[in-house]
């Protein structure tokens, strides 16, 4: 056991039909305790040491929460550059699942070189966006080399086009319905197409479909009122108005025409989740280009910084951080769309030091004992234990916990014997 913790998923079945699902987590709740007693500046020095995978989202959430608790105002121009870093990180996390995990489902070799190349972009983006590469400090300053960033975005787009879409990214981006999707899948050797064809061939498109809804958007005040009712319980096993909700990339992509149509047919089943990941991957280079163009427009006095947010459409905003409201009571609350869903940081300052700090990661919602993964797994019915195991692995992969997990299948028939 390492300090990162893990999730254990026990799936009991009877002749391939799931009868019971138990999810237990040893994920460390105590980690936020290290922030107690620290100043906001110390918190922001500490966060990058603790978090790797969603390090940018975590650092951005901490910064937004600290800034709000200090009563500071938003910084639209700098925050827009920070949004770029979170988008880049989201792309990397999705690519991790696609390039390292998907090949195992369709008997292909992992493309570790592409992922290794992708890991190097974060430092390059930071260096060409921020002075000294420092993006998530209270005194961070922009120092944008727009030409370099534009070049990096082009390289990024080429990398995902080659490694995931086999040169057919452009065609994929124009898909708006299932008939077009099936045309695109014909004789397509892209990794993305292989996985989707695999699901179609086994008729596993709607596997795991259930009625857990996507978490609605809420403003900071409403969220804080809910949080204050029972901070400890909410941090550990969050729910909203007594119900479990899902917060994944599906929330962000439901309004895309292709995903909306697939969702109306297959609900939140397997193919919709896999497709939503691909749609988000395909969108992010566009999003980065758009955010860069707004930065350039500000630099050339074509728009003023406060208008950056207003220049983004609804689709863009669904993928970005919410602007936190400033506070005069020392409480700061931030909501960031991290790769795996909504990330919440809440802190309370007293005499300039952290008195209370809470972190609610999307995995808390999604791998809640009664949450969307548990309900998805309860729907499974397969012809063999091997198929059942494979369906469960695909579903867990599609929702994607941020820590290692162990899946244990038990045939209840054998238990009785």
């Amino acid at each position: 056991m390492t300090p990162a913790g893990s999730i254990r998923i026990d799936l009991h079945h009877h002749s391939g039909k799931v009868t019971e699902v138990n999810i237990a987590s040893s994920r460390p709740e105590a980690i936020a305790q290290v922030f107690i007693g620290k100043t906001p500046e110390q918190v922001l020095d500490t966060v990058p040491l603790l978090f790797t995978l969603c390090g940018n989202a975590q650092a951005y959430a901490a910064l937004q929460a600290c800034r709000a608790a200090l009563g500071g105002t938003t910084e639209p121009e700098i925050d827009s550059a920070r949004d770029m870093l979170v988008q880049l990180e989201t792309l990397r996390e999705h690519a991790w699942r696609i390039l390292l995990d998907w090949p195992g489902f369709v008997n292909l070799v992992q493309d570790k070189k592409a992922l290794a190349a992708l890991l190097k972009f974060d430092a390059l983006f930071k260096r060409h966006l921020f002075r000294h590469g420092e993006a998530f400090k209270l005194d961070s300053c922009l120092d944008i080399d727009a030409a370099q960033i534009a070049k990096l975005i082009d390289e990024l787009e080429t990398l995902i086009d080659v490694s995931i879409f086999n040169g057919r990214l452009g065609d994929f981006q124009s898909l708006t319905g299932e008939a077009q999707l099936q045309d695109w899948l014909q004789e397509n050797n892209a990794l993305a197409a292989k996985l989707l064809n695999y699901l179609y061939s086994l008729n596993w498109t709607a596997v795991g479909q259930n009625n857990i809804a996507c978490l609605p958007d809420f403003d900071g005040d409403t969220l804080d009122r809910q949080l204050q009712q029972d901070l400890a319980r909410f941090s550990r096993a969050p729910h909203w108005q007594g119900r479990c909700f899902e917060t994944t990339l599906l929330n962000r992509q439901l309004s895309q025409p292709l995903i909306a149509k697939m969702h109306s047919r297959y609900g939140n089943g397997l193919i919709v989740r896999m497709l939503a990941r691909l749609v988000e991957v395909a969108l992010i280079p566009f999003q980065l280009k758009h955010l860069l163009s707004l930065q350039t427009a500000v630099e050339h006095y074509e728009i003023s910084p406060p208008l950056i947010r207003q220049s983004l459409d609804e689709r863009d905003l669904e993928m970005l951080a919410k602007s936190p409201s400033s506070s005069n009571d020392g409480i700061g609350l931030a909501q960031i769309q991290a790769a795996r869903g909504l990330l919440i940081h809440r802190l309370e300052l007293r005499q300039g030091h952290v008195y209370d700090y809470r972190l609610i990661a999307p995995t808390e919602w999604n791998f809640h004992p009664e949450g969307v993964v548990a309900q998805s797994l309860k729907q499974l019915q397969a012809q063999s234990p091997n198929d059942l195991q494979r369906q469960a692995e695909l579903l867990i992969n599609a929702v994607d916990p941020c820590v290692q997990y162990a899946l244990h299948l038990t045939d209840s028939q054998n238990e009785i014997k």
Binding site: P3, P28, A30, V34, T52, C54, G55, L119
Partner: protein
């Protein structure tokens, strides 16, 4: 929660591009496929069996101290 695990490389297996790394008292096998030029004694950040990047010893020790402060190193 995406915690960064600093681990020290204690054995290398270049033929398989693998290494043994030590996280506190726990030994884990890690793939080196995603990092370049890793040597014995280096610290790397580890996630689900992969070394993600090299970090300097000072940063690794600071991170381990933070885990200890949070009471998470007792399990290690």
């Amino acid at each position: 929660m995406c915690l960064a695990l600093p681990a020290q490389i204690v054995a290398l297996d270049p033929a398989n591009n693998m290494a043994t790394a030590s996280v506190g008292n726990v030994k884990v096998e890690v793939s080196l496929a995603l990092v370049d030029d890793v040597a014995l004694g280096d610290y790397v950040l580890v996630h689900v069996g992969y070394a993600l990047n090299k970090i300097d010893e000072d940063e690794a020790l600071k991170t381990l101290a933070l885990f200890a402060e949070a009471g998470l190193m007792s399990e290690v």
